[in-house]
């Protein structure tokens, strides 16, 4: 432990705060998809940059854990690097970029392409936990709507989308119904990732620091993306394969590579892309 982290508890938060967060987590697991208010602490990271995920990870991480942190699917974006370093520094835990090696994956905006197992926990950073906030900004009103399971508003919105555009015009943060009860924000993951939440063997925890809410999807829970019988939910597809690993199954990032506007498509999940290329090399 270096001079800067001396005087701080393991993984930064004090044990009483961790206990408070764990209580909220237990409640969240018991009521899948329900947003549990918790006494979010001020963290040494700005609000909106992952303070909720940071607190959840801090509350669950132990010395034997191996942590992976991704942002936009990549381990190397500055915010992911920063959060990984934070735990390496304050908890001294092992970190990895390999999805399969991690016991805890903290993520912003993606679910890894490599399927998670029942030995893993995925922690989502959530900016706006309320799936209805664009339709009803009042927290008090939204709580009532959830209590009554009154989700008419969003169905009308999606119906209007279909009338206007021919399809539902939500591409990320696409709300899901968890365990047939609570409408829940999957955090701003692309709707491409929504099907991965359904019956996932891993425990899925969601932390929203600024909005002071925690929620969870326990392993093997039913997660349904909203849709209509005649307009079933579908995910994005690309005409291209990844330019680096050739995958047709992954979510692709588009990059502009020269002044003429030439585009290149590569996997957003950097670990998935690397390991596919490594496997290929081995095969050759």
């Amino acid at each position: 432990m270096n001079a800067l982290t001396e005087g701080y508890n393991f993984a930064y938060l004090d044990e009483r705060t961790k206990r408070m967060i764990r209580r909220a987590l237990l409640k969240a697991v018991a009521v899948p998809g329900y947003q549990v208010p918790f006494a979010s602490r001020e963290m040494p990271l700005p609000y909106g940059w992952g303070t909720g995920g940071l607190q959840v990870t801090s509350a669950i991480i132990g010395e034997s854990d191996t942590l992976k942190v991704i942002d936009q699917g990549s381990d190397e974006t500055t915010n992911a690097v920063n959060i990984r370093r934070f735990f390496a520094r304050t908890a001294g835990v092992a970190t990895t970029t390999r999805t399969a090696e991690a016991t805890i994956v903290q993520t912003r905006h993606r679910i890894p392409e490599t399927p998670l197992t029942d030995k893993q926990i995925i922690v989502y950073q959530v900016p706006m936990p309320e799936p209805l906030f664009r339709l009803e900004p009042r927290v008090t009103e939204c709580r009532k709507l959830h209590a009554l399971a009154d989700y008419g508003l969003i169905n009308v919105k999606y119906y209007e989308d279909i009338v206007q555009h021919g399809s539902i015009a939500t591409t990320y943060d696409y709300p899901v119904l968890v365990n047939d009860r609570y409408l829940t924000s999957p955090s701003p993951i692309p709707k491409f990732d929504n099907p991965k939440m359904h019956m996932n063997p891993a425990l899925q925890l969601f932390g929203a620091g600024r909005e002071r809410r925690i929620y969870a999807i326990p392993p093997y829970t039913k997660v349904k993306s909203l849709d209509f019988e005649d307009h079933p939910f579908s995910v994005q597809k690309w005409e291209h394969a990844c330019a680096l690993c050739g995958s047709h199954e992954s979510f692709l990032d588009e990059m502009i590579v020269d002044d003429q506007g030439t585009r290149m498509f590569v996997c957003s999940d950097s670990d998935y892309c690397h390991s596919r290329r490594d496997d290929e090399e081995v095969a050759q």
Binding site: P46, Y47, A169, D253, M264
Partner: protein, 366 residues
């Protein structure tokens, strides 16, 4: 060529170095000391202590230095430190009537027991740039800072005089009142009681409160305010120590308090009476305390049976957006990569535009 997004770690370290260098500026100019900031930028220190909600002049000055004068960043630094501090307990309520007053004015009465005390204020400085400050070796007059302890010279609150006539409603603390909540330990929930609202406003951004308070004066929930009393000075902080069983003084803090007097038309049950809005801030922070008092009064609409017609009276709107550490973080998180979401939107937009073109080529061409 695909440029890999690797190297974030090294970039961050380099960024720290650049920042440190920028903060220090030209090394030929002597470095600012924390003591200089504490002594000579006391109003900045007061704001950082108030909104950072830690009364510590040295730490606030350090935060200002570290943040290169960005006060919202300094407030964030102080908050991030505060969150790690153990909680020993709660002090007794401070008694601002017993304040050692340095400045005290009332806009409601020409003369008041204890007198008006102008003290040090920028109000009547005529705002001419003082070019002598450009020169080194500033001359300081030998003004003595007068301070009156109200114990000796009787400086009762202006509002208590109205109270004697029953002209103003007063928040009376009753014996079985529940202890006030602690916003830094419990999430904000609605409906929020007045103590919770005041805590939120005390930590709230001065600029935000100023704008909301100003809006109330311009007709968004007009509440006819009078500055009943503004006082600034030192108050003692007392705490009951368990081992002793009685309260002991643990120090003095400087605060600025504002009590606004507002009209109230009365209702079927209550005769017309004055009502009040309250503001309190660390250090000398009159703008903040006054704005806070205006907003506090506006937020009391519901409890006083007034109609809630304007955003300034809407507790959810005001309290959820007052905190500058939250607001600054969330606004600036837009700097973080959003490649994935943006890619999803791109894909949708292209699809919609393709469909649109196929439907109606003419309109597209026009």
């Amino acid at each position: 060529m695909y440029v890999a997004v690797k190297g974030g770690e090294r970039a961050i370290e380099r960024s720290w170095d650049v920042l440190a260098k920028k903060r220090r500026g030209d090394v030929a100019v002597p470095e600012l000391s924390v003591a200089q900031i504490r002594e000579q930028m006391r109003l900045a220190v007061a704001r950082v202590m108030t909104e950072g909600s830690v009364y510590d002049e040295d730490l606030a000055a350090l935060a200002i230095k570290q943040a290169a004068g960005d006060l919202v960043e300094a407030i964030f630094l102080l908050r991030a430190y505060r969150t790690t501090l153990p909680r020993f307990g709660y002090t007794l309520p401070i008694d601002t009537e017993a304040m050692c007053v340095e400045r005290r004015i009332s806009a409601a009465f020409k003369d008041i027991p204890g007198g008006q005390m102008l003290g040090g204020t920028y109000d009547y400085t005529q705002r001419l740039l003082d070019f002598t400050l450009l020169a080194e070796g500033e001359q300081v007059g030998d003004a003595t800072i007068a301070a009156k302890a109200s114990g000796e010279s009787a400086m009762p609150r202006v509002l208590s005089m109205l109270d004697k006539e029953g002209l103003i409603e007063q928040e009376r603390s009753h014996e079985n009142a529940p202890p006030p909540g602690d916003l830094s330990r419990e999430p904000l929930s609605f409906p929020a009681d007045r103590s919770t609202r005041l805590q939120n406003l005390a930590r709230g951004d001065e600029g935000f409160l100023l704008a909301v308070g100003y809006a109330t004066q311009r007709g968004y929930a007009h509440s006819h305010p009078f500055a009943g009393e503004i006082r600034h000075g030192e108050v003692a902080v007392e705490m009951v120590v368990d081992e002793l069983g009685f309260a002991v003084e643990i120090g003095d803090i400087e605060v600025t308090e504002c009590q606004m007097i507002n009209q109230f038309a009365g209702s079927g049950d209550v005769p017309p009476t004055f009502t009040q809005g309250y503001g309190l801030a660390f250090g000398h922070s009159e703008r903040k305390a006054m704005a806070m008092a205006l907003v506090d009064r506006a937020l009391r609409a519901e409890e006083l049976g007034e109609s809630v017609a304007s955003p300034t009276q809407d507790a959810e709107f005001v309290l959820y957006h007052s905190d500058n550490v939250e607001a600054s973080g969330f606004v600036q998180h837009l700097k973080l990569p959003h490649y994935v979401d943006f890619q999803s939107e791109l894909e949708l937009l292209r699809r919609l535009r393709a469909a649109h073109g196929a439907d109606d080529n003419k309109e597209n061409a026009a």
